[in-house]
């Protein structure tokens, strides 16, 4: 996997593909072209601003395990950009994530999905804000926050959607659940132990399972 290390406060990048490691805070990256970030590494107590410049696309999928205790993440979208962002968080620590998606102009498509699994004494607070600026047109915005936990007080979602225009399709939803008893039963009927079944359900929720099989093959 390519690894791109950024140690500047501001940087322009085009058509990146691989792991992005940010060593500065705050850091502002301007993205051009078609970009794929398969892992995003940031420091604790940091702030990252990613701006998708006109016509840029970004597919971001990352897994954070017991990291990023405090992180502020700003995603700016200009004109005709496309964002597909999936952040998976698995933690036994305290995580505080503030993510903001600013749609500044027209014809953007934004999809942000954040899945969280807390374990042991882990807890997670996520403030997710979608902001669609006034006088913008034909934007699409979807934000999905999902939590899976065995300790129901350990996840807090603060979804916030601000639209200053009517010419937008915007949806956001947030759910927090425990491990589903029927899912657990189903997996045990296949001969899988309860502890392995729980692990499988959590990994599936974080979109980890198939990757491990594929990597092995």
């Amino acid at each position: 996997m390519n690894k791109i290390i950024i140690d500047e406060y501001e940087k322009e990048l085009t058509n990146i593909n691989g792991c992005l490691e940010i060593q500065q805070t705050p850091c502002h990256i301007h993205l051009y072209g078609n970009n794929l970030i398969s892992k995003l590494l940031v420091k604790n107590n940091s702030k990252l601003i990613l701006t998708l410049e006109n016509n840029a696309t970004l597919k971001l999928e990352t897994l954070w395990q017991n990291s990023n205790e405090n992180f502020e993440f700003i995603l700016n979208m200009t004109t005709k950009t496309n964002l597909d962002c999936r952040i998976n968080i698995e933690t036994e620590k305290h995580v505080n994530l503030n993510i903001q998606n600013n749609i500044q102009s027209d014809e953007n498509q934004s999809k942000i999905r954040i899945h969280v699994v807390t374990e042991k004494n882990g807890n997670c607070k996520i403030a997710a804000t979608g902001y669609i600026k006034a006088n913008t047109k034909k934007n699409e915005f979807l934000e999905e926050l999902k939590g899976l936990t065995e300790n129901e007080n350990s996840i807090t979602f603060l979804p916030n959607l601000i639209t200053e225009t009517n010419d937008v399709t915007a949806m956001h939803n947030a759910t927090i659940k425990g491990i589903d008893e029927e899912e657990l039963f189903y997996l045990t009927t296949k001969g899988i132990s309860e502890s392995k079944a729980k692990e499988l359900i959590k990994n599936g929720f974080l979109n980890k399972t198939d990757k491990e099989v594929n990597n092995e093959s």
């Binding site: 997996l187 599936g204 491990e212 099989v213």
Partner: protein, 250 residues
Amino acid sequence: MVIFMFEMKNVSIKVQDKNIIENLNLTIKKGEIHVLMGPNGAGKSTICKTIMKHPNYEITNGKILLEEQDITNFQTTELAQLGIYYISQNPTAIEGVTNAEMLRLALNAKTGQKMGIFAFNKKCKEIAKKINLPESFLHRAINDGMSGGEKKKNELLHLWMLEPKLILLDEIDSGLDVDALKIVASSILDYYKENQPAILIITHQIKILDTLIPDYVHILKNGQLLKSGPKELAQEIEKNGFSSVFEPMD
């Protein structure tokens, strides 16, 4: 002495403080196909879920045996590893967990050995072809976003991979169109011919019994087996309804 494949002896079942099944006796030998019929709410699905030790169902009396071993207090995982396989009428979907990942774990747990990825993939692909399921299903999340027919075929993939000796089919025919039912029933018949498992079928339709011809048909009402008979009993019910057969057994 005859060794029975599967026995329920005087089994009573309670769900949330309500008695659902009273003193049920059922014996299925290796290679036999039994059918359980009865009106809605009779307790048919309860029997399957209880055999599999679903946490909501409690055995209050009697015992369950598999090949003479008392499995009454076994956990679901142990029952599955012993070779009992259950397909529910609406198989559970699990987000993000692929068939391949689940099956590898299940096979490893059953055999106690780690199956090589190439042997595993080869077997999966052969079975997928046999049951007319696209290979891409191996890496799809279990039953997630699948149609009713696809879910049932997906469960057959699991069945062929896990090679059970007792199969519990809880209305496997529900929600299947004529063609899908034919494929599903034929696949189970192929498995039956190759492996001679014992099968318990719960159904409201006798169409599936054209392919999976039963040795015995049992009628359940209000938690009790009221009548047992040959395959013609199912045809009688189809023709005249349950009321024609609701006379307690001697």
